[in-house]
């Protein structure tokens, strides 16, 4: 082919080509970059939460010359106590000591005699004997014992190889069995607690094990030969073997976290029975941190469930009505209105719920509860009355516009119910509904409770469910509905028998998206509940959700710490849950769209 273009034109052509390629490159780079950045959220959360579940690393290395023992293996007894022990001829017995750190307990000294433990209080001049208790089976003997940091847990090893943790009480029974790490095994000769942590090392003839007070054994390996000296300032264990000092570096920053400690009830210090608890300890505090995620997961699901309980019937009802009955002109007004409702910020809804609605409902509880039953009845009553109206009236109040003209009717009844609330309460519950609930159903009442959250968050998710369900229903090819109506079905029958079976998956995906939104909503839950991590089903008590917990605690958590990582792990759960739910909903929606296209094509 002969090119008749002048050189200038050819140059211009080349330049255009280059520009085109550059633009494509730029768009691709930016596009991929943006998409990668957006998808990086999941990656970041996984990377940040991963160290929680990595196993501890314990390695032996040559000690730096001149390193000194900062913490001895056994807490040395104060001089007076040492002298007392000598006087009483008790110096051969294994012992454990806790200083007066926990204010409620005071200092304690435990002495092991055979299978019994003598408990001594260190509050006066001389130790005062509190009790002498058997802690292992009579045929066994205690070989080692140690008090964990904080002095509220005592670990006892016996000569059959058993290893148990007891929690310390301020009053009889003085000790309570918390964890049995094992019943039999190699006999433990010594227990060494790591400084300022809830980890301890158990040395037996075969080797060395690392235990965490809740999570149990985290590592087991060979014990270095020779003699243990103590811990250095970084928490490494120093050994002397044939004159050379070795250091056993123990790297287990998140040893207390395992699937079991996160999700199952744990025998925490200070509680009689295993508990599901979320209670993070402050930095440097000796209190046992309680990282049970179950109460938070419960709170999240409870809030979402109560929200959906309100939102699903209302939103689907509205969507059904909009798809089947609303005149087209009105529908074009109503849809954007509800879209506006979706845009209302959570903080405003939460504020109204927490500061206005909650006190209001507290004062009008009887009326509020009555409304739950009353409102559907009143809607049906309106229908009944309407069919008895003269035809001229009915033409003024067409069924298609019922969504609007029912508003004053419902408002009237709501006002009536709230106005009658005190009388209702006086007549049915002796004027004290909350007392009655407490006495007969055992329900406590929090001002900011699940009912309020359900109402507020339900309000927030109604528009999303409505919009998607309405889209699914009105997307059904018109020929189907028209066919059914032509065969004599009423509009409700058409909806129920034709439209819903066709659009069912779409309606389902709408509900799922609503659930995803309810699970992740932060401000409403934060403001409309008391944020106590309870596990109760009661609609009249509060809860704490993952999202609210993140908003409250993450700013204070130390980056890289266990608390921080557990919080990030909970964010990961939230992310995965909503992402999975949304993906599922989206896939369902796509398949539905394809189906509609096929159905529509058959016309």
């Amino acid at each position: 082919m002969i090119d008749y273009s002048s050189p200038a034109v050819r140059l211009r052509q080349r330049w255009r080509q280059v520009r085109d390629r550059l633009a494509t490159l730029l768009i691709s780079a930016c596009g991929i970059g943006v998409i990668v950045a957006v998808l990086a959220i999941g990656v970041f959360l996984v990377v940040a939460a991963w160290p929680l579940f990595s196993s501890p690393r314990v390695a032996s290395e040559p000690a730096t010359p001149g390193v000194e023992v900062a913490y001895p293996l056994e807490a040395p007894l104060p001089a007076g106590l040492e002298a007392w022990r000598r006087d009483q001829h008790l110096d051969a017995l294994p012992y454990a000591l806790s200083h007066a750190q926990p204010q409620a307990l005071g200092g304690r000294l435990w002495l092991a005699e055979g299978h019994r433990l003598t408990i001594l209080a260190l509050d006066g001049e001389a130790p005062r004997r509190l009790a002498r208790l058997p802690v292992v089976e009579p045929e066994r003997r205690i070989t080692a014992l140690a008090a964990l940091a904080g002095g509220r847990s005592l670990v006892v090893a016996d000569d059959a190889g058993g290893l148990r943790r007891w929690t310390v009480e301020a009053a009889p029974p003085w000790l309570r069995l918390a964890t049995e790490y094992r019943d039999r095994g190699p006999v433990i000769q010594a227990l060494w607690t790591l400084p300022e942590s809830r980890l301890f090392l158990a040395r037996d003839a075969a080797g060395l094990s690392l235990f965490e007070s809740l999570a149990g054994q985290r590592w087991r390996g060979e014990a270095p030969g020779g003699e243990a000296l103590g811990f250095d300032a970084e928490g490494g264990l120093l050994w002397r073997d044939a004159g050379v000092v070795q250091r056993l570096a123990i790297d287990a920053p998140h040893a207390e976290i395992s699937w079991r400690t996160l999700w199952l009830p744990q025998p925490y210090e200070g509680h009689a029975a295993p508990q599901q608890r979320w209670q993070s300890a402050g930095e440097g505090s000796l209190d046992e941190p309680k990282y049970g995620l179950a109460p938070l997961a419960w709170g999240t699901l409870k809030a979402a469930a109560y929200a959906l309980l309100l939102a699903v019937p209302l939103a689907l009802g509205a969507a059904f009505f909009s798809a089947c009955y609303l005149p087209r002109r009105l529908r074009e007004r109503i849809k954007p209105t509800l879209e506006l409702m979706e845009a209302l910020p959570g903080v405003v809804i939460g504020f109204v719920a927490g500061l206005v609605l909650a006190p209001f409902v507290e004062r009008h509880l009887a009326g509020g509860l009555a409304l739950i039953v009353l409102l559907p009845l009143v809607m049906l009553l309106a229908g009944g009355l309407w069919t008895r109206l003269p035809a001229a009236w009915r033409r003024c109040l067409p069924l298609g516009w019922a969504g609007l003209w029912l508003m004053p009717w419902l408002a009237l009844w709501i006002a009536l119910a709230l106005w009658a609330s005190p009388w209702l309460e006086a007549a049915l519950f002796d004027g004290d509904l909350r007392g009655w609930l407490e006495a007969s159903l055992g329900l406590g009442y929090d001002q900011r409770n699940a009912l309020i959250v359900g109402l507020a968050m339900g309000f927030a998710v109604i528009p999303s469910i409505f919009a998607l369900a309405e889209d699914a229903l009105s997307g059904v090819p018109a020929s189907l509905g028209e066919g059914a109506q032509a065969l004599g079905a009423t509009r409700w029958q058409t909806l129920w028998k034709v439209l819903l079976p066709a659009a069912g998956p779409g309606v389902f995906s709408a509900v799922m998206i609503g659930a995803g939104r309810a699970v992740g909503e932060t401000m409403i839950v934060l403001m409309a509940t008391g944020n106590t991590a309870l596990m109760s089903v009661s609609p009249l008590e509060g809860m704490r959700s993952f999202a609210a917990n993140l908003a409250i605690e993450l700013p204070e958590a130390v980056p890289g710490g266990t608390h921080y990582r557990v919080l990030l792990f909970s964010a990961l759960l939230l992310f995965l849950f909503t992402f999975a739910v949304n993906t599922l909903a989206e896939l369902v929606r796509r398949r539905l769209k394809r189906r509609y296209r096929q159905l529509g094509a058959g016309r």
Binding site: F321, L344, L410, T490
Partner: protein
């Protein structure tokens, strides 16, 4: 479709059973809740600025109190008998220890609205609800009639003196002091500084000249220096136009002033400024990247299975809870990038962090990430609506792909992009949860823009309307006093967001109509 009309029951639906009524009721109830919420916000938010009348209440036992009635509640006594109580805003916190008073309605013997009672707003201790008795000038009682006119004139003088003093401090003294502190030592600046400081001293002295003698409802007399007052009005003596003017002035003060008294009084100007600035920064970040990503996804990337999956993933990220974005912002932007930046650039100010703590930049970035899916999805929808013939025609005429995109496709998709950006702004303006992690402050009197280099301080914390609602409503000592302000702030926020959304909806409507016309051609 023409509906068949039956002769006897023209246009009426056949018997549909009870279900449609439940469905209609659901719709009505949803709309009712929305209307109730908006009405509540509008009523309480705007009503707060209306000068409420002062009632002088005489109780059965002869005691008197003066206050503005706020609301009534029905409660129950411990014995179970119903009780109607009315809340009065009585002010005078320094005298009574309490600015609110619940009064049992049945115990009220008489209610009056005397004209001469005044509400005086002070710099500290909140409002004073009192009866003015006389004016004092430098400790000497004046006998000026009419008292209120004289007082108003003198208050006006104090206010103008204060305005002059504040302007002097802000515009002369502060810059000079900064220049001197920075080491530019010159005699002229020093002289000007001394002169200005002397003038401030004079103004200060002039302001303390006058005082007002007032009497409270309990009969206490006190002398209030005019210097401590911000405004004063006699609601009972005001005519409706005057009240309307006062309402407008109050509203303006709310919008244009900073908060006072631990955020429970004053205005929300810094919060408005912070919100707007953050949203502007965010849209500057999100618009180009969101549009480019959408163009890539729709026009450049091979339309295979992978792209389909990416599209679904991006769409779903719009449904990921906002707090998760906040966590990401905190972990990556603040602790990750910010901490690194501090190590490299601001090592001399460590350990107090510069970029290693929440700030304007990180908040905007986090929200940009949060709203990216919104912009991508909206732009992609816009691109998908453009008929393929447009692209084919452009390419057939010899345009390269870049030219086709720039000259044909992007201009056509512009309204869609705008819709996306507006929706993104509306979403970002209402999000609070991620901001709590990445940089919002309960009180930041320094706005992030000022006359100091580099003028825009990206590392500063900022105030935000939404967080203001949360903080004032839930963390202030006197919730009753803060509540009207929270209502007003919430109304402002909702108003802004609704207007933005309405714009987006209208734009989209217009867009659909245009494309429908294009397709039918």
């Amino acid at each position: 479709m023409r509906r068949l009309r039956l002769p006897g029951r023209a246009g009426l639906p056949r018997g549909e059973g009870p279900w449609p009524w439940l469905a209609a009721g659901s719709l009505a109830l949803s709309l009712l809740m929305l209307a109730a919420l908006l009405l509540l916000l509008a009523g309480r938010g705007l009503g707060h600025f209306w000068p409420a009348p002062v009632e002088l209440v005489t109780l059965d036992d002869g005691r008197q109190l003066a206050g503005q009635p706020v609301r009534e509640e029905r409660r129950q006594t411990l014995q179970g008998s119903p009780l109607r109580e009315r809340l009065y805003r009585t002010g005078n916190r320094d005298l009574d220890g309490e600015a609110w008073r619940w009064v049992e309605v049945t115990s009220i013997a008489r209610r009056e609205r005397p004209d001469d009672w005044a509400v005086i707003e002070r710099q500290r201790w909140g409002e004073l609800i009192v009866r003015p008795l006389a004016l004092e000038e430098a400790g000497r009682r004046l006998a000026e009639a009419p008292l209120w006119a004289a007082f108003a004139a003198r208050l006006e003088r104090v206010l103008s003196l204060r305005a002059e003093r504040d302007a002097l401090r802000r515009e002369v003294i502060a810059p000079l002091a900064r220049r001197l502190a920075a080491g530019h030592d010159d005699a002229e600046a020093r002289a000007r500084l001394t002169e200005a400081q002397a003038r401030v001293g004079e103004l200060q002295a002039a302001m303390t000249r006058d005082a007002l003698v007032v009497e409270s409802a309990a009969g206490e007399r006190l002398t209030v220096p005019l210097e401590s007052m911000l405004a004063a009005w006699r609601p009972n003596a005001m005519s409706p136009p005057e009240k309307l003017a006062a309402w407008g002035a109050n509203l303006w003060h709310f919008l244009s002033e900073g908060p006072r008294a631990a955020n429970t009084a004053g205005g929300v100007w810094p919060a408005i400024f912070g919100t707007v600035l953050m949203v502007l920064l965010m849209s500057a970040l999100v618009t180009p990247f969101g549009v480019l990503a959408a163009v890539y996804l729709h026009e450049v990337a091979p339309q295979g299975r992978l792209t389909g999956w990416v599209r679904i993933a991006v769409r779903n990220l719009a449904g990921v809870p906002s707090i998760v974005y906040g966590v990401f912002g905190l972990g990556v932007f603040v602790y990750g990038i910010g901490g690194r930046l501090d190590d490299w650039l601001f090592a001399d100010s460590l350990p107090s962090p510069t970029f290693g703590t929440g700030g304007l930049l990180w908040a905007s970035l986090t929200l940009a990430l949060l709203t990216l899916p919104v912009v991508i999805v909206a732009t992609e929808e816009g691109l998908a609506r453009i008929p393929a013939q447009q692209r084919e025609a452009a390419l057939a005429l010899g345009a390269t792909r870049a030219e086709m995109l720039r000259r044909v496709i992007l201009p056509m998709a512009l309204p869609a992009m705008l819709t996306g950006v507006i929706l993104a702004i509306a979403r970002a303006a209402g999000e609070v949860a991620p901001l709590m992690l990445v940089g919002v402050a309960k009180l930041a009197p320094q706005v992030p823009v000022d006359g100091d280099f580099p003028y825009l301080h990206l590392e500063r914390k900022f105030m935000h309307l939404g967080y203001h609602v949360f903080d004032v409503g839930f963390h202030s000592g006197d919730v009753e006093a803060a509540l009207p302000l929270v209502y007003a702030t919430a109304l402002l926020l909702v108003g802004v967001i609704l207007v933005l959304n309405l714009t987006a909806i209208l734009l989209r409507h217009h867009l659909r109509a245009r494309h429908a016309a294009l397709r039918s051609r």
